[in-house]
């Protein structure tokens, strides 16, 4: 190479060298520049700028650090860097809606955000330092942020016990239990009751094959696409328990054939005394008397009937037992009599109490039911099925097991398959990649999957065995929340210690009381030590509250104590022996330590105390705003017309001191009465007496009509 050319080349090399070093420097500079531009650092700086414009800058920057903030909960396996960007999360002055995210303060909640972090409740990727990675589902982290309307699911992950603060979660758990989801699925914390659906061992003695066919084709309780529930075509708020199965004509014929031959036990002798029949069968008042008796027994506390008022037909009554508008066309008359006499003889686990019927009443009521509560069109569209053939019965038997009927319904001698549906106890923690989405065009995440499956099981799996339910949006969200809360057993012992266990409530009396208690099924409506229904007052401490004689009178002839209550206690036609057994047990056993009836002697009350008490009641504390005495006063508390004949003095005193100590969720506000005021008020209330007269039929009809007028 010539020398001059070498010089040229050197010049060129120099230029190349210069350019490449500039490029090299620039590339080196990219790294710190990129670091400077990192998302979380930008948010850090923008928070600094944001706080400069506010009056309380110093306070807002008190714990500001320019690097990543991290909350580490080793026991819960949580690393949470959310507060790196959400820096104002605990600053009360940033609670205003006008404050831009991510700096806005979190609304007040029971857990301190600085102690627990965000992902414990909201999910998402805690260690992430980029917006998208933290909030959305990524390949490495498939737990995106939980939409806030399901956030109560996270409460349920540790709080197995029901919290008053999480109504949606509680509703979801109730729905899972009420709809018998645990018949097929394993669900933690939801116990499998003794009976899910009705026991079908003797169903052939109750209904005809045609009725079974119709029921299987179109269950009586139907929910339309908007979630409106209808029973027998009438609108109601009842929960649909029997879902709709997708059955073919052959399957319907087979199942109805198989069920109609289930007559393991013949009906108990159920004939009504011939003299009663002879005396009443020609009486024109038979049906109207039957209807009256039906109402007097307060069957509507548990059962509903369709009532037409002002052109609108609505179901009115309780939803503990089935709706009865068309029951006369459904059940066989002999079965009805046997059932009403002894419900447990047909269904050992039924909640229906055993009433003390006289033959006359039984005849009148059953005649009313079989003549008036009927619908001649009930079986329209059902083909004549005739006698079931052996082949159909065989098919029905097979289907009963294959379709999972046996998971909810008992038939003697049939063993249901255990865990018929998938175990759902860890569903809430599943990654989207663990789920089958099939051909469904839905976003691939857990929430969409659960909702799609609940709305239409075949949408994600065409071969799904799960029956079709229809929901309204709020029930769908509630059930989704409950399912999302089930993230499986806690993985670490530290987590296990966090779990707030579900409270096991039990009340198992024994002896003579237990027999009567079981016969009248008191626990269907009343609560005892946390066990039982919600329809009627909690009786855990009834022995401290009520006087024995009042209890006996009430049991024999129940009265309503609260003027606004629509439902009330049925008249059981209780014998003296049963009533005294119940009253004796309650006064002896169901006592609160703070209210021992023997501890306060009513004789100590003097007329001046009574006068002072009356003054306090009417003027100083104005108790009449909620309680009625002598026809005037409020609707909220029980009426006190007979307080002296009903309550014990010890209970009134303890109650005035602290009502919530006796009944935790009572709405009577706790006051700061002095002991003298308490004594005086008790003295006054103990003078209020009113004898309970036997009810006149006319009055019952009037109250019942009024109750129906109020509607539910």
């Amino acid at each position: 190479m010539p020398a001059e050319e070498m010089g040229k080349l050197t010049g060129r090399t120099r230029v190349i060298f210069a350019v490449s070093s500039v490029v090299f420097l620039a590339v080196l500079a990219i790294s710190p520049f990129k670091d400077f531009r990192r998302e979380w650092k930008q948010y850090k700086r923008s928070y600094l700028r944001f706080t400069q414009g506010r009056p309380d800058t110093k306070k807002l920057l008190a714990d500001y650090r320019p690097d990543i903030d991290q909350i580490w909960l080793p026991g819960m396996n949580v690393v949470d860097r959310c507060t790196t960007c959400h820096q104002g999360i605990t600053q009360a002055s940033l609670a205003d809606k006008a404050v831009p995210q991510p700096f806005r303060a979190h609304p007040p909640i029971p857990h301190n955000v600085r102690d627990w972090g965000c992902t414990v409740c909201h999910r998402g990727q805690g260690p992430a330092t980029e917006v998208a990675e933290a909030h959305e589902s990524t390949l490495a982290w498939e737990q995106p942020i939980l939409p806030t309307r399901f956030v109560q699911a996270s409460c349920g992950t540790c709080h197995y016990a029901n919290l008053p603060q999480t109504p949606q979660l509680t509703r979801g758990r109730e729905l899972l239990a009420e709809l018998n989801c645990q018949g097929c699925h394993r669900l933690p914390g939801i116990e499998r009751p003794v009976m899910l659906g009705p026991d079908l061992t003797n169903i052939g003695t109750k209904v005809r094959r045609e009725w079974i066919y119709k029921w299987l084709k179109e269950p009586r309780t139907i929910v339309d696409k908007d979630g409106d529930v209808t029973v027998n075509g009438y609108e109601t708020e009842e929960e649909p328990r029997m879902p709709k199965f997708r059955l073919t004509e052959t399957e319907l014929r087979g199942l109805s054939a198989y069920l109609s031959v289930q007559k393991a036990k013949a009906l108990a002798p159920s004939k009504i005394d011939v003299r009663v029949v002879a005396a009443w069968s020609k009486n024109p008042e038979l049906i109207s008397q039957g209807e009256l008796r039906f109402r007097q027994m307060f069957c509507s506390t548990c059962h509903s009937l369709a009532v037409t008022r002002a052109g609108e037909t609505k179901l009115i009554g309780g939803d503990i037992g089935p709706e009865l508008t068309k029951v006369g066309s459904k059940v066989s008359p002999d079965w009805l009599i046997a059932w009403l006499r002894d419900p447990q003889g047909y269904l050992p686990h039924t909640r229906m109490p055993r009433y003390g019927w006289s033959d006359e009443d039984l005849y009148k009521v059953t005649q009313y039911i079989t003549t008036k509560l009927t619908d001649s069109d009930l079986l329209t569209g059902v083909p004549q099925l005739g006698q079931p053939s052996e082949q159909e019965i065989q098919l029905g038997h097979r289907l009963f097991l294959e379709k999972g009927c046996a998971s909810c319904h008992l038939i003697d001698g049939l063993n249901p398959q255990r865990d018929f549906g998938p175990d759902l106890s860890a569903l809430g923690g599943k990654n989207a990649s663990d789920l089958e989405f099939g051909a469904a065009k839905i976003p691939h995440n857990l929430v969409s999957y659960i909702q799609a499956k609940l709305q239409d099981p075949t949408s994600v799996n065409t071969a799904a065995r799960m029956p079709q339910y229809n929901w309204n949006q709020s029930d769908l969200d509630a059930i989704t929340t409950a399912l999302l809360s089930m993230k499986g057993a806690p993985a670490t012992s530290a987590l296990q210690n966090l779990v707030v266990a579900r409270k096991e409530a039990a009340f198992h009396p024994s002896g003579l009381f237990a027999e009567v208690f079981e016969r009248y099924k008191c626990y269907t409506c009343h609560k005892f030590n946390g066990y039982g229904g919600n329809l009627a007052p909690d009786l855990t401490y009834e022995g401290s509250r009520a006087q024995r004689q009042w209890l006996v009178d009430f049991l024999k002839n129940p009265q309503t104590l609260r003027p606004t209550l629509v439902l009330r206690m049925p008249q059981f036609n209780m014998s003296d022996r049963d009533a005294t057994t119940l009253a004796d047990y309650m006064t002896m056993v169901l006592q609160h330590p703070a209210a021992n009836p023997a501890s306060v002697d009513a004789k100590q009350f003097t007329p001046p105390m009574v006068a002072l008490g009356k003054q306090l009641y009417e003027v100083k504390y104005q108790c009449q705003s909620c309680h009625t005495v002598g026809g005037t006063g409020g609707y909220v508390g029980p009426n006190l017309n007979n307080a002296g004949g009903w309550l014990t003095a010890a209970w009134i005193e303890a109650w005035l001191r602290n009502p919530q100590a006796l009944i935790p969720d009572t709405i009577e506000p706790r006051r700061s009465f002095t002991e003298d005021e308490i004594r005086a008020l008790t003295a006054y209330l103990m003078t209020l007496r009113q004898s309970i007269k036997p009810q006149k039929t006319a009055r019952i009809t009037a109250t019942h009509a009024a109750a129906q007028g109020a509607g539910r």
């Binding site: 590339v27 991510p102 007040p108 959305e136 109504p167 909620c626 506000p669 706790r670």
Partner: protein, 163 residues
């Protein structure tokens, strides 16, 4: 040579531009109703749904347990007790009356009862039954359902001098 310089310059610009212009993912902006802890229909217009945050929804729960009997026209158990009372208590969403009351007054009347503040003794005190936190949540619920809507009073004068 000119060619190499161009290449170099182009490379430099591209690299800087690419590294600087990375698009930031937008934080998801959910519908306020879908991101609400709970909701309550507007009492005067059932079509309008008011989103509630955690505190307000706790207030809703306590309201429907304790207050609904006298401060609403319909209750879960049927007719309201309002008509039995003189003076007739305000309905909870009555913004025309309640918006004018300060938070302090509301807190006091719920805690101490009507007679302590020279109002009707029919309003009982709840200070021994509800915690201060629960009373605040009831107030938050009151403010959320108020019609006309509640406007919080202006921010109190700052104790710091603005820079």
């Amino acid at each position: 040579m000119k060619f190499q310089v161009w290449i170099g310059a182009l490379l430099l610009v591209t690299v800087v531009a690419i590294s600087g212009c990375r698009k930031h993912a937008e934080a998801p902006k959910p519908d306020p109703l879908l991101s609400a802890y709970d909701t309550e229909p507007d009492w005067t217009d059932a079509q309008k749904i008011i989103p509630l945050d955690y505190q307000q929804s706790q207030g809703k729960r306590i309201f429907y347990q304790q207050c609904v009997w006298c401060h609403a026209d319909a209750t879960p158990a049927g007719p309201s007790n309002r008509s039995n009372l003189t003076p007739v208590p305000p309905v909870l969403n009555d913004g025309a009356t309640l918006n004018a009351e300060s938070d302090e007054f509301m807190q006091n009347i719920i805690t101490l009862g009507g007679s302590a503040l020279g109002k009707s003794a029919m309003m009982p005190p709840y200070g021994k039954m509800l915690s201060a936190e629960e009373i605040r949540s009831v107030m938050a619920f009151t403010r959320a359902v108020a019609q006309p809507a509640y406007e919080p009073p202006g921010r109190p004068a700052s104790q710091y001098s603005p820079k």
